[in-house]
């Protein structure tokens, strides 16, 4: 996206439109790898539980963010949960958005988890989302071991 020189106020200064390209390979780590393998292979969502405060964190962490204790215990949580907060993104940003705007995002407290999981909301009327809404994960058919193997969370119809 080049800035036109006249937008600099005819100051006589030049601009150099360019872009930064940087291939990068992130290592998911042992906790994230198991988390994603369970979703990819079994459509199961797992977290880790703190032996001290008993919070269950999803995605799983090696160390409790609250107590700084090791969390060796893995706990399977439900694919259903409750919406804690949400927004509908109505502007477009090239290259970073998984869906065409408008699209909904929320933080979901999965049943059996204590922390919230930020994710997309789908199969939903964008004008009819509310805090406390019950939602369920919809898994992608061709799963490949990343965050979008959960395609989105959809409302559970009462």
């Amino acid at each position: 996206m080049a800035v036109r020189s006249e937008e600099l106020g005819n100051t006589g200064t030049l601009i150099y439109p360019s872009r930064i390209r940087l291939p990068y390979t992130w290592h998911v780590g042992k906790m994230g790898s198991r988390f994603y393998q369970e979703i990819r292979d079994n459509c199961k969502i797992w977290g880790t539980k703190c032996p001290k405060c008993e919070w269950v964190f999803v995605p799983p962490r090696e160390t409790c963010p609250r107590c700084y204790r090791d969390m060796p215990e893995w706990v399977e949580v439900s694919d259903t949960g409750t919406l804690l907060t949400y927004t509908v993104t109505r502007y477009g940003v090239p290259g970073i958005q998984p869906l065409e705007p408008p699209f909904a995002l929320g933080i979901i407290k999965l049943d059996g988890a204590t922390s919230g999981l930020v994710h997309l909301l789908g199969e939903v009327n964008l004008n009819d989302i509310s805090i406390g809404m019950r939602v369920k994960a919809v898994f992608r058919e061709a799963r490949r071991g990343d965050y979008l193997d959960i395609k989105y969370f959809k409302p559970i119809r009462a």
Partner: protein, 378 residues
């Protein structure tokens, strides 16, 4: 704590598409801060720059402005974070006893990049980043959470935008002085509900510099140093889902540390002016709660009462705040510079009469993950 004084401050005017290069911006404020302090570059014995490689579009960005800040061939270190943390590191340099006079320089050219792509990159690449989260829609998750938990309204948030843009009209450095109404804010374009265009801060280029010195030097070199009375900082958890986004625990902790140092027991009474990091309208409400100006969830009512207006008991963001000029990373240092001007009685049309104790606040990370609080006094 040994006494450390702020003896020089400078800012550029904030604007979108400032034609200067980042080094030219850094030079502008370095030379002006020296002039303000009555010093030359030879009086500076160490420098802190505040640069972020993503925003600057180059790696080890700080090393590209050593000449512009006069810091080559001298001790210089970079802080990647908000400018308040640059000032914090500058303070620590002086308290170490190894240095006498520190220059802190922050510059940013936000209009060179695409802010949403850059702020998307603050999220974990193997988790939330691929959801298209950025500074705006993540803030929207927080604003909704805060409003729902405490019954704060969009109107109350809009009042912050109206107040700060109005205050900006008396600040020659401000990017976006505006005469708007609550209705204008509520009717502005929805970006990520409940956040609307006029709840957000502008894309600003700009720079700020401050010069700090140990007590003896500060007194010798400057007639009226502004003293650092207290400082505190604290960070919350990284993943948004680990936090209660409606709460401000990290800020409350940072404020408590700063207040303890400064001997402040009743912030509302003892602080005369506050400059806080209102990147979004609702943030000013939340930060006032974290700073203990009112109880949790009561900031909306406090704003309704007019207490934080220019003629209220505790004016907040007389400069127009970050809503009126948001050069990322610079903005926290600018809060300190504005607080210094207030305490010197040099704030012109935005002066709070008789201010002798001021608060300056900066944030970093998504939804105010980290906070840094300074208490300044005469």
């Amino acid at each position: 704590m040994d006494k450390v004084g702020i003896i020089g401050v400078a800012q550029t005017k904030y604007q979108r598409y400032n034609p200067a290069s980042h080094a030219e911006l850094a030079y502008e404020v370095t030379s002006k801060a020296l002039e303000d302090a009555g010093l030359t570059i030879d009086d500076i014995d160490n420098t802190i720059t505040v640069c972020n490689d993503f925003w600057d579009g180059r790696t080890i960005s700080s090393m590209t402005i050593t000449e512009a800040t006069g810091s080559h061939k001298s001790p210089t270190t970079n802080v990647e974070g908000d400018g308040t943390y640059g000032a914090l590191m500058g303070l620590m340099r002086l308290l170490s006893g190894l240095h006498e006079t520190t220059l802190v320089v922050a510059q940013s050219k936000i209009s060179e990049g695409i802010p949403s792509i850059i702020t998307n990159a603050m999220f974990d690449p193997i988790y939330e980043r691929m959801l298209g989260l950025d500074a705006i829609n993540s803030a929207a998750l927080q604003m909704r959470s805060y409003m729902a938990k405490y019954g704060v309204t969009e109107e109350q948030c809009a009042k912050i935008s109206v107040k700060n843009h109005k205050n900006a009209r008396a600040n020659p450095y401000a990017h976006l002085p505006l005469d708007i109404t609550v209705k204008d804010v509520l009717k502005s374009r929805v970006l990520a509900d409940p956040i609307k265009l006029l709840d957000t801060s502008p894309i600003s280029d700009g720079a700020c510099a401050i010069i700090m010195a140990r007590e003896r030097t500060a007194k010798r070199k400057h007639g009226k140093p502004i003293w650092i009375k207290g400082v505190g900082h604290c960070a919350d958890a990284y993943h948004l889902g680990d936090r209660d986004l409606a709460e401000v625990d990290a800020l409350a902790s940072a404020a408590k540390r700063a207040y303890n140092m400064a001997g402040i027991r009743s912030p509302l009474k003892q602080i005369h002016v506050a400059e806080v990091y209102d990147a979004f309208s609702y943030m000013e409400l939340m930060w006032m709660e974290g700073l203990g100006f009112c109880d949790q969830g009561k900031a909306g009512a406090m704003v309704d009462s007019g207490l934080t207006e220019m003629n209220g008991a505790l004016p907040v963001n007389p400069s127009g705040g970050v809503l009126s000029a948001h050069a990322v990373q610079v903005a926290g240092l600018a809060r300190i510079a504005e607080a210094v001007l207030q305490l010197r009685g040099q704030a012109g049309g935005r002066q709070v009469d008789g201010a002798s104790t001021a608060l300056a606040h900066g944030i970093e990370g998504a939804c105010g993950q980290g906070h840094c609080v300074f208490i300044l006094g005469k």
